[in-house]
């Protein structure tokens, strides 16, 4: 077992992790943060997307043991003080989800995109979200929601 110290959504955790555990397993099974989903387990679907030190990653391909000293943001840490972030609000307003399984991953990827560029083109949105798959919506409403969230952020 390896000792790591990582900050998740602002809270610091001291953990003993097995070298074989993924960050995804550790978040869901040890920290009980089940908002982050497991779809494919091999980097293709994006359901497990989290931010590590501000950058998005597929947590199913990251070992928890790598995470000593890092800051992780999961979907549970996106709303601040009980207030949804603009991406979450826009997803609800535009009905950008059906079963919702892909939604946490999309919220993280879209939030990261808008942090970097609050005025992305449709093409940039589609490219940056290409690592998040959705079996239900057909994507158009998701793209619309990200555009609306961008407009909210720009005020």
């Amino acid at each position: 077992m390896k000792h790591i110290s990582m900050t998740v959504n602002g809270d610091q955790h001291e953990l003993l992790v097995d070298p074989g555990w993924t960050l995804l397993e550790t978040l869901r099974d040890n920290l009980r943060l089940t908002g982050t989903k497991e779809g494919c387990s091999n980097g293709n679907c994006g359901a497990c997307t989290v931010m590590i030190d501000g950058r998005t990653a597929n947590s199913c391909l990251v070992l928890a043991a790598e995470m000593d000293g890092t800051e992780i943001t999961t979907v549970e840490g996106i709303a601040k003080h009980g207030k949804l972030n603009p991406v979450q609000e826009a997803f609800i307003k535009d009905g950008a989800l059906q079963c919702g399984f892909c939604t946490p991953g999309f919220i993280i990827s879209a939030t990261a995109l808008l942090q970097r560029n609050p005025n992305p083109t449709e093409e940039e949105i589609r490219t940056r979200l290409a690592g998040n798959l959705c079996r239900c919506t057909g994507y158009d409403k998701i793209i619309m929601a990200v555009e609306d969230a961008a407009a909210m952020l720009r005020g």
Partner: protein, 288 residues
């Protein structure tokens, strides 16, 4: 996941001492190849060494002898680095093609090279820019031309105990440019059916080709240079006809297989088309 130990050294010496140990020892950068390979049993490990915290492997800078890319630098870091975007454009293009944004944020260019897939997208751009691999073990360092680095699908010439430290790309000459294109049936998130990187240096007085490099992915057991096609170009005035002859010669370097992504015949045709297109892009880039 199989049982293995984990280490996260913070100096190169510490890392090389670990790699000198016995058993199956594997480096980890982004983990976007190795973690899935371990999960599915395609590779095994007694010890996994996360090399991302070694300062030498995080180097990313331009010095007198060229561009230095530490082996642990991510595709995002490399693809967004100003000198890569301006001078080594094919490399920036390929780094931003790998997987998704999430993948690019973790996956190393060095990881792409060491994974040694025939389809590794950053490899043709590195080959056309004459990259050298600087490798080290507990008993010393050596430099390997990247064109001599690959031994077969998933196989490199790295010896037991050796790791990649950095890739060095020499400074680019005036009047030169590079380009990379791959063909996939989707827009993102797929493995190249074929990929071609090209580099051209032209004589501005008469448009003669001073230096040409063409490298192919996904059409042979390893990524490789199409040397006959380079020879067709060098010393001759660049015309559409010459580009066509070079594209035909590049097809000759390909020894593709037929698989679910495409037939051998289709891949040969892709080599012709992508060689023609990347050479034309180089010409346009040089002529501004």
């Amino acid at each position: 996941m199989p049982d293995f130990d984990f280490a996260q050294p913070t100096t190169l010496d510490e890392a090389l001492e670990l790699f000198a140990g016995s058993g199956e020892i594997r480096a980890l950068v982004g983990g976007t190849d190795i973690v899935d390979q371990l999960k599915t049993g395609r590779r095994n490990a007694d010890l996994v060494v996360d090399v991302k915290r070694i300062p030498e492997l995080q180097r990313l800078e331009v010095t007198g002898d060229g561009l230095h890319i530490g082996a642990a630098r991510s595709c995002t870091d490399v693809g967004e680095f100003p000198a890569v975007r301006s001078d080594y454009r094919s490399l920036a293009e390929s780094a931003m093609l790998i997987g998704s944004w999430q993948i690019q944020n973790r996956a190393g260019v060095g990881g792409n090279v060491c994974n040694a897939a025939p389809s590794g997208d950053t490899i043709p751009p590195l080959l056309v820019h004459d990259a050298t691999a600087v490798v080290a073990s507990a008993s010393g360092r050596r430099e390997i031309a990247l064109s001599d680095f690959f031994a077969g699908p998933g196989q490199t010439v790295l010896q037991k105990g050796e790791i990649l430290v950095e890739l060095v790309l020499p400074p680019i000459p005036d009047n030169s440019a590079s380009a990379y294109l791959r063909f996939i049936p989707r827009n993102e998130m797929d493995i190249a059916v074929a990929g071609v990187g090209s580099f051209l240096q032209l004589d501005p007085s008469n448009n003669a080709v001073l230096k040409a490099r063409i490298a192919l992915a996904s059409v042979a057991p390893t990524p490789l240079r199409a040397r006959a096609a380079e020879e067709v170009l060098e010393g001759n005035v660049l015309t559409d006809e010459l580009i066509e002859v070079a594209a035909e010669a590049a097809v000759g370097a390909a020894t593709p297989i037929t698989d679910v992504r495409g037939s051998a015949e289709y891949r040969r045709e892709l080599v012709r088309v992508l060689t023609r297109r990347t050479l034309a892009i180089c010409r346009d880039r040089i002529n501004g």
